[in-house]
């Protein structure tokens, strides 16, 4: 209350100075289901957190509302020496929030820090990339081999201040096993459009605009306040009662209620994450099945049968209430230029039965399925629908739906890929197909070296070759053709996965608030305007 009075007094005083120019306190209050845990921009590679960091921190590049790469702290860059050297020209006159000047030393420091132990964003920069300071405002990146997507994830590699970090003993990201608390986890010093005024992890974070920001603000806020609200019902209630201006997510069953209210509406759009089913196609005998001595999923006819048994339209209409975009690929169509060339085959239970009979499973078989129940939108219900659809073609699925903490502990590398059939979601962090191919289609060993998130170990030497070519190809058109060939092989020939859909984003937004919804689901309030 006191704060409000003071804010109002300042505002009216400023109004006097500006001779009646309309200037009033515009506070954005918003709530997300999870916490904004650490302010250290390298501790957690998670979408919402990365979006929050963008208020105070900036990268060398940025992405615009359409996800196009635009200049950030680097004004421009060029590729030299046949792709083995990238030269970045840094923006001059930029100051960190504490007044320190931004220069090449900060970039070199941040490049080391983001690759240090304890960082969860090590993949932002290849380990072999060498950063060289040419002068105070020019930095070269030397690579052993050309890499056309070097800077694709640099919009979330935020530049930190070398002097500040070292002075506060935060030269390295805090590892999880740290015994001393991290200064950078509770304090931020970036170059971005907002300054963190207070941060109480898990309770409240407050930002104020940065008056010395180098760019022209596109927001009209005087303050932004974040509170986590974990309970779905309470989050929706807070939006409907006007206590917050933005929430994420709106549960699907509440979408109509929010739209019917006078205060707010739901903004829906396709998200980049692809939800899919995967098979263990590596072990000689499935861990969870009544088929002994062989693995039915090694037969691609069985995988095709599963694909065709699933009626994606039913999942979209009944389970997702329309809030999903069925997908033919393991990547969102927004991220691959040639995705139009792929069509999802229609559901065909009869054909599926025939395929199963051909493969020698005319009598059907039993298999165990792993599924999270608190990770993706309606994840458990999607799995239940899949169980029903597969039952119609004779495959009896025993569903094991668990909280994400238990699910991931079981199915990922650390759990020894302990699954036969699973549901997972994947967003390529680089917004590029190479990430999907490298994680989902490369062979791996028992420990997970190779395609670490290829849980069922899809493995085809032809695919390995294609993936290598994609990595080295710098010509966009040729590269796209190679990616297309890889998806054709993985999808239409090998039936390696069953892509289901891209779930929809569902943001609840107050009627007096204008926000920009980007498909990667980062909430960037430097684009928010309030009436």
């Amino acid at each position: 209350m006191l704060k409000f009075v003071r804010g109002a007094a300042v505002a009216s005083f400023a109004g006097l100075l500006l001779a009646g120019a309309p200037l009033q306190a515009k506070t954005l209050r918003f709530a997300f289901q999870g916490d904004y845990k650490s302010l250290d921009p390298y501790t957690l590679n998670e979408t919402f957190t990365l979006g929050m960091h963008a208020a105070a921190y900036e990268g060398l590049t940025k992405r615009d509302p359409e996800l196009k790469i635009i200049p950030g702290l680097a004004e421009r860059w060029e590729v030299l020496d046949d792709g083995k050297r990238w030269r970045f020209y840094l923006r001059q006159g930029v100051k960190f929030h504490n007044g320190n000047a931004f220069n090449a030393d900060d970039v070199l420091f941040s490049a080391d820090r983001v690759r240090a132990d304890g960082s969860d964003l090590k993949t932002r920069i290849p380990p072999e990339a060498k950063f060289v300071k040419v002068d105070d405002y020019t930095v070269d990146v030397e690579l052993p081999a050309p890499n056309p997507i070097l800077h694709y994830e640099w919009d979330t590699w935020y530049i930190m201040d070398k002097e500040w970090s070292e002075a506060n003993n935060a030269g390295k990201p805090t590892p999880a096993a740290a015994t001393t608390p991290s200064y950078a986890a509770l304090n931020a010093n970036g170059t971005g459009p907002f300054v963190v005024e207070s941060h109480q992890p898990g309770v409240k974070t407050v930002w104020k605009p940065n008056p010395a920001w180098w760019d022209k603000p596109q927001h009209n806020l005087t303050e932004a306040i974040f509170t986590p609200i974990a309970s779905d019902a309470t989050r929706v209630a807070a939006l409907l009662s006007g206590e917050v201006d933005w929430i994420d997510p709106v549960p699907l069953q509440d979408v109509d209620r929010v739209n019917a209210s006078a205060n707010a509406s739901v903004m829906q759009g396709p998200e980049l994450r692809t939800i899919f089913l995967g098979f263990d196609q590596y072990r000689d005998e499935l861990l969870y099945s009544n088929v002994k001595g062989k693995n039915p999923f090694k037969d691609k006819r069985v995988r095709e049968a599963v694909y065709k048994a699933i009626d994606i339209e039913v999942i979209k209409d009944k389970v997702m209430r329309g809030a999903a975009t069925p997908s033919a690929l393991m990547i969102s169509p927004l991220l691959f230029d040639l995705s139009e060339d792929f069509k999802r085959p229609a559901a065909d239970p009869e054909g599926a039965k025939k395929l199963l009979a051909e493969a020698g499973y005319g009598e059907g078989f039993e298999v165990g399925m792993d599924c999270p129940n608190d990770r993706y939108v309606n994840d458990e219900r999607i799995c239940q629908a899949v169980v029903g659809m597969l039952a119609r073609v004779g495959i009896k699925v025993n569903l094991n739906a668990q909280p994400k903490a238990k699910y991931f502990a079981k199915v990922l590398a650390a759990g020894g890929y302990d699954t036969s059939f699973y549901l997972l979601g994947w967003t390529p962090g680089s917004f590029d197909s190479y990430n999907v191919l490298a994680n989902m289609y490369r062979c791996r060993d028992e420990k997970g070296n190779g395609g670490n998130n290829n849980l069922g170990n899809y493995c085809n030497p032809k695919m390995e070759e294609l993936i290598k070519q994609v990595l080295g190809e710098t010509d966009t058109k040729k590269r796209n053709e190679l990616i297309k060939a890889a998806y054709t092989l993985g999808q239409e020939e090998d039936w390696g996965y069953v892509p289901l859909h891209q779930q929809a984003l569902a943001w609840g937004v107050a009627k007096n608030t204008k926000v920009v919804q980007r498909a990667d689901n980062q909430f960037l309030f430097y684009w928010v305007t309030k009436e």
């Binding site: 969860d120 209630a237 238990k406 650390a414 670490n452």
Partner: protein, 326 residues
């Protein structure tokens, strides 16, 4: 007396050790903390390295012994999610939980006792029957449902009270924050404390009613009536006074459960207390927070029980003898 206290203290340490042991044994079934620390793209070597650095590869007994050793010096480790000391995180959240628990307890007493007295004295009035019906609702409806109903009516439909949070808080001293000193803080307290206190209120009301009915039948009340004392003096001066002993006991014991069961209320109202912190820790397999919270709650119950036992001895001289003999 001193021997009794010392014996109870030793027993208390045993209880705390047992709680820590059981909690630790359960943590192995909540999932893998490493998955919550790194993103899904982290490599196998990185995961293995973190696992090693957290000591998760050591045998259970070694992990437990190490934890107890550190806890003995009040070092509860660093939260996996927040990378902050657990003692600091719990300390920051504790005022919120304690203020909520206090207000709920006061609400339960201030409303519950008069309702109990009234229903005992005017058993057949319609208001007494209404109170009985309301108390049935309080006992039988789950807390989260009451919370959501209150939010729906008072925050969304009527717009009178906030639906979440603690409002503006004022910092007192180094580590206490209070919501008692601001309007928004007081307004934010109303719905959560009713939600949390409703069950205790109905419990107290029913207890007072039963005790009152019992006492009103006793001989000394009859004699008091025969002496011609006013109804007021009989009902409040003699009857109520004698019903309060069990009420105080129950209230004291219930204070522990109010704090422990605040988890649900805190989650529904996003009340920034220890309960929310604990629940999020469970979801994220943040073992240091879970362990410290469970120990803290166990400690609270132990202290409250000890205090109640000692109070008994003070209040009832007959017990003192058994205490000495024991």
């Amino acid at each position: 007396m001193l021997a009794f206290i010392i014996r109870r203290l030793v027993q208390s340490i045993g209880v705390l050790l047992a709680v820590a042991f059981i909690a630790f044994a359960m943590f192995r079934f909540v999932g893998d903390p490493v998955n919550q620390i790194v993103s899904i793209e982290a490599s196998a070597e990185e995961r293995a390295q973190i696992r090693e650095s957290l000591g998760l590869n050591d045998p259970f007994v070694v992990q437990f012994a190490r934890y107890v050793g550190r806890a003995a010096t009040l070092d509860f480790g660093i939260s996996y999610q927040f990378r902050q000391p657990v003692t600091k995180l719990l300390g920051e959240r504790m005022p919120a939980t304690l203020e909520l628990a206090l207000v709920s307890a006061v609400f339960a007493l201030v409303v519950g006792i008069p309702m109990g007295v009234y229903t005992a004295l005017r058993r057949d009035s319609w208001l007494a029957k209404l109170f009985q019906a309301v108390s049935l609702v309080g006992v039988s409806l789950p807390t989260f449902l009451i919370g959501i109903l209150l939010i729906y009516v008072f925050a969304v439909t009527l717009g009178w009270l906030p639906s979440f949070g603690r409002g503006e808080v004022v910092r007192l001293g180094d580590w206490w924050t209070t919501g008692f000193l601001t309007t928004s803080g007081l307004r934010a307290l109303i719905l959560p404390s009713i939600t949390l206190g409703l069950f205790q209120m109905t419990l107290i009301m029913r207890l007072v009613r039963a005790e009152m009915l019992e006492v009103l039948r006793t001989d000394y009340i009859k004699f008091a009536r025969a002496r011609g004392l006013t109804r007021r003096a009989i009902n409040f001066g003699h009857a109520l006074k004698n019903t309060l002993v069990p009420v105080i006991t129950i209230t004291g014991l219930q204070l522990g459960s109010i704090i422990a069961f605040a988890i649900i209320t805190e989650t529904v109202f996003q009340w920034p207390g220890m309960g929310v912190l604990f629940l999020q820790a469970v979801q994220n397999v943040d073992i240091p927070i879970m362990a410290a919270y469970l120990l803290l709650i166990a400690f609270l119950f132990v202290v409250i029980n000890l205090a109640v036992d000692l109070l008994y001895a003070v209040v009832d001289p007959r017990l003192k003898v058994t205490v000495r003999a024991a």
